[in-house]
């Protein structure tokens, strides 16, 4: 029933250490992060039922999120207490001033943040003052292929181009704006090709754009989701696709891609990292904020972070230092033993990491890609 | 719902676009009267009825039920009953449910609904079709359902739009009597639209004869039948022989007009003088055939039609004019016959406008093919 008469709780004042009485939280996940963190949250509720009595989860795609929160805030009736999001949703909200500033105000309540892995720390800096990094992974860009079909995988950008030329339609990546691996590939290329300014897609990516346009001649089409590229790889209509650590391991666990698929990297590649954040919309009561802060700190402890290994979904996953696979749940350990790759440890250790483009530049890059690479297909076909 | 003493229509009119389908209808209906609206096809009878029922909003005039103005009431508030020209049965309801519909709308007890419905079904002799849908009935059966549906409610005013036109002659006669009987025994007030003069004459207390959306004459059956107000009314009332002629002599209401190389006497139905253009009107039944050797009006039989007891004949007069006549003698086309006109039955009307005259029936226009 409508609750028009509900007295508005305090939303802007000081946040107490502990809520006056146990609160119930609505958590909205737009990044698929619950896959990694729901276990942590449930654990917290179990242990601290005096703080959080109940959690309801809902999931939604990211783009529409800010509209919804905006509508709620305009009406002074925010019912989403915690949002788990990727960089895109985070910065979209920041741009529109949707989020509460948690830092540095409450930094002391989140001591776990001091233990971030260095690249996770960089991701945290990207997040500004509203988001708290909860999970992290180095992402890609990786190339994935079936050894049975590709005897000698390309080792550098030129070889990839040559392979694509020789095997028309057999190299595939998804439309960057619809695909994590696709955008990682896009953002990773400037490093591989040695472009002028890898952070400026409009003016600094001459080589990248030239390369993509040339590659485009040998690409049949760009699916609108990573899953389609995985399927193409699995059913043989494609030989080489772009990927990330998570997209390499998890689909093989799930069985959408044959277990024997292999990965390789292009010479000179940098990891373009990725992370998930927790943010609190403005308009959430101080009581709930208190509970959330406690929850976040709980999530940043090593025991809990180990759950982020999952089944390689966000491999490795933990954002803080010193979390070992052996701490992870058994199921998780088994999956990664079977489908994980020993070479990842070395690749992660040996290659530089870069933060992804900020939201604005990324959108500009997507737009340019759509216009000049993806869109040009119309004219040519 | 309850009865009324008088229903007054004052200047009632209905316009469709630029055409007046009904204009200036003034009529007072007394409680218990049986009024027939009579007139040729398209003269506005159905329009008048719909206005009275409230189904067509008026574009002029007002309607009063005693002191209450009712032309602003919606039809369902007027409490009138109506039988529609094209039945308008509810196609999704059985005969029984069609008839019970109005009773149910009045929220009568189930028992009473059932009882009255069955009685009405009995009355229109549809007991064995009671569970059929209208789509499965013959045209006549449908019309009987429509009659039963309206009268079962015993409304204070019943409007009927040619309710018998699809019935066979026998049933029509019976239903006529039945409707009259209902009218009397239930104390109904009835407005009855028909194009059948015989029906109107035999059923109604008063006739309203219409033409082109306007009233031509209001009167008792006898008045309308024996003294039509205009030659148009005469035309419609079965004065099938309408002759545009010049009056030869006028004396009081005795007029002499020329006919078939001789002259005949008629009764003047208005002001007229010798030499005026007039219209002489007489019914075929008042034009009888004798044998040819009698002096006077003569003609040659052109067409003979069997009509049961009598023969209907068309006779060509020497001057080419055709007369419709009746005879009970066996005659053949081509025969020469003498013609007598029943005295006092030839009516003579002044005819003002030259455009407003009947065409002399010299040769009926056929379909040019």
């Amino acid at each position: 029933a409508p609750t028009a008469g509900k007295p508005a709780a305090d939303t802007t004042g000081d946040v107490p250490d502990k809520p006056a009485k146990a609160v119930s939280l609505n958590i909205l996940d737009v990044a698929g992060d619950l896959q990694l963190t729901q276990g942590m949250i449930d654990e917290f509720v179990k242990q601290h039922s005096d703080v959080i009595s109940k959690v309801t989860y809902s999931k939604a795609p990211a783009p529409e999120l800010s509209g919804k929160i905006k509508a709620q805030q305009n009406a002074n009736r925010v019912d989403i207490d915690l949002v788990l999001t990727g960089t895109d949703g985070l910065s979209a909200g920041t741009q529109q001033g949707l989020w509460n500033e948690l830092l540095p105000k409450y930094a002391d309540r989140l001591p776990g943040m001091k233990d971030y892995l260095p690249p996770a720390q960089k991701m945290q800096e990207l997040a500004g003052n509203s988001g708290v990094t909860v999970t992290y992974y180095p992402s890609g860009p990786l190339l994935e292929y079936l050894p049975a079909k590709v005897a000698k995988p390309p080792a550098n950008a030129d070889e990839l181009l040559a392979y694509a030329k020789a095997n028309k339609g057999k190299v595939m990546y998804a439309r960057p704006s619809n695909s994590g691996p696709g955008r990682t590939f896009l953002m990773g290329l400037p490093y591989i090709l040695g472009d002028k300014d890898p952070k400026d897609p409009i003016n600094g990516w001459d080589k990248t754009w030239a390369y993509l346009k040339e590659l485009n001649q040998y690409v049949d089409y760009y699916p609108s989701g990573t899953a389609d590229t995985m399927k193409a790889l699995a059913n043989g209509s494609s030989n080489i696709i772009v990927s990330t650590t998570g997209w390499d391991i998890n689909p093989r666990v799930l069985g959408t891609v044959p277990k024997e698929a292999a990965i390789t990297t292009l010479k000179g590649f940098h990891w373009v990292t990725d992370a998930h954040y927790a943010v609190v919309p403005k308009g959430v009561s101080t009581d709930k904020q208190a509970a959330i802060l406690q929850l976040l700190q709980f999530m940043l402890t090593p025991e809990q972070q180990a759950k982020a290994y999952d089944k390689g979904y966000f491999y490795p996953g933990p954002a803080i230092k010193g979390v070992e696979l052996s701490q992870a749940p058994q199921e998780s350990q088994d999956a990664i033993k079977d489908f994980g790759r020993a070479e990842y440890d070395k690749l992660i250790a040996d290659n530089p990491t870069e933060v992804p483009l900020d939201a604005k530049s990324l959108v500009a890059a997507f737009d340019k890609w759509d216009r000049e690479v993806g869109g040009s297909k119309v004219k040519s076909s | 719902m309850s009865g009324f003493d008088q229903l007054r229509l004052e200047g009632v009119g209905r316009r469709f676009g630029t055409a007046d389908a009904l204009a200036d209808l003034d009529l007072t209906i007394e409680r218990g009267e049986f009024i027939a609206l009579l007139g040729p096809s398209g003269c506005g009878k159905s329009t008048a009825l719909n206005c009275l029922a409230g189904l067509l909003p008026l574009t002029a005039g007002s309607i009063w039920q005693d002191d209450q103005r009712i032309d602003t009431l919606p039809p369902e508030k007027r409490g009138f009953g109506m039988v529609f020209q094209n039945y308008a049965l509810f196609p999704h309801l059985t005969v029984r449910d069609n008839i019970a519909f109005g009773l149910r709308m009045r929220r009568l007890p189930k028992d009473e609904v059932r009882r009255r419905t069955e009685a009405a079904i009995e009355m229109v002799r549809l007991a064995e079709h009671a569970s059929k849908l209208p789509g499965q009935l013959s045209g006549g059966q449908q019309q009987r359902v429509a009659i039963a549906r309206a009268t079962v409610l015993e409304p204070s005013l019943v409007l009927m739009d040619e309710p018998l036109s699809n019935l066979d002659a026998k049933l029509r006669l019976e239903m006529r009597t039945e409707i009259r009987r209902l009218h009397q025994s239930l104390g109904l007030t009835t407005v009855y639209v028909t194009h059948d003069q015989e029906e109107a004459l035999s059923m109604a207390d008063r006739l309203v004869v219409m033409r082109l959306g306007r009233v031509q004459q209001i009167g008792t059956p006898e008045e309308v039948h024996t003294k039509p107000a205009t030659w148009h009314v005469a035309d419609f009332m079965g004065y099938r022989n309408l002759l545009p002629v010049s009056a030869t002599r006028v004396e009081g209401d005795a007029v002499t007009v020329p006919l078939g190389e001789t002259t005949v006497n008629g009764v003047a139905q208005g002001e007229m003088n010798a030499g005026d253009e007039v219209v002489a009107a007489v019914r075929p039944e008042d034009v009888r055939l004798g044998s040819a050797d009698v002096a006077g009006l003569k003609g040659r039989i052109e067409v003979v039609e069997y009509q049961g007891r009598e023969l209907a004949v068309e006779v060509a007069l020497p001057d080419g004019v055709r007369l419709h006549a009746r005879t009970d003698r066996k005659v053949e086309p081509g025969e020469q016959v003498a013609i007598t006109i029943t005295p006092g039955r030839l009516l003579v009307y002044p005819s003002g406008d030259p455009a407003d005259r009947p065409a002399a029936e010299l040769a009926t226009a056929g379909l040019a093919v």
Partner: protein, 260 residues
């Protein structure tokens, strides 16, 4: 037509097979069958609750939009009046305008009055395109009904309410059914407005489905297929139930049956 059916069967069949497939690479059929995908989808989204919400919300939307829309359609079909075109346009706009233009302000309004965040918000928001939709589909149906039948009912003392209930409704069953089904399909499938106004307890199936399909993260193809099958099965059940009770052509056909 055969071609249409075969291909349709192919389309549906491939998803159905896939949703039960363990792994399916370059072969005719998957290499093994399992129902795990359903179990996963079921658990992940708490589908029982979601389906219940969906059913309730869509049923409410259908009923309300017919109740609000049918009388308006009636007037538009029966009557000519000054300003009719303007009214018509007003009813057309919500169908023409993509929810992007009005979704967020609409959600704000609904949140302001305390409707959004509950089922009622979802219902109200979905009514916005549904009511005009009913109006638009119903108008020609009403035009087909002979007005004299209505007149007859009026003369028998039926008021507007009775005419709608006893005369028009049964005669319009095919039309009502058609537009109800279409509204239902649209409502169940309307992601945007639903998402903007749904609360945590009032998520509908389509939100879950959209999520599984387009949200970030890795998701097995088969699990999306499974969700889609669940979605379709639910719609199918609704449709079959609807058709069970009334066949779109049956009523009128019974009235004027063609011989043979």
């Amino acid at each position: 037509m055969i071609f249409f059916f075969v291909n349709l069967a192919g389309v549906v069949g491939s998803v159905l097979v896939s949703s039960f497939g363990r792994r399916w690479f370059d072969t005719w059929l998957p290499s093994g069958f399992t129902t795990d995908w359903y179990g996963d989808a079921w658990r992940e989204f708490g589908l029982l609750h979601v389906i219940t919400v969906t059913l309730i919300a869509s049923a409410l939307v259908v009923v309300l939009s017919v109740l609000i829309g049918a009388p308006a359609a009636y007037v538009l079909a029966r009557q000519n009046f000054p300003g009719k075109r303007l009214v018509y346009l007003t009813f057309l706009l919500p169908i023409l305008m993509p929810p992007i233009t009005y979704g967020i302000p609409l959600a704000t309004v609904l949140y302001k009055f305390g409707f959004a965040g509950h089922l009622s918000g979802v219902v109200l928001a979905n009514l916005v395109p549904s009511v005009p939709f009913v109006i638009l589909t119903m108008t020609p149906f009403i035009e087909q009904v002979d007005p004299r039948i209505e007149s007859a009912a009026r003369m028998l003392g039926a008021g507007t309410r009775a005419i709608f209930l006893k005369i028009l409704t049964p005669l319009l069953v095919p039309g009502l059914l058609a537009s109800a089904i279409l509204v239902l399909v649209r409502t169940v499938g309307m992601f945007e407005l639903t998402f903007l106004t749904a609360g945590p307890d009032s998520q509908t199936l389509v939100v879950a489905l959209y999520y599984s399909m387009s949200a970030a993260g890795i998701r097995a193809q088969q699990s999306v297929d499974a969700m889609a099958i669940i979605y379709t099965s639910m719609m199918l059940v609704l449709l079959v139930v609807a058709l069970r009770f009334v066949n779109p052509t049956q009523l009128v056909a019974r009235v004027k049956e063609e011989p043979e």
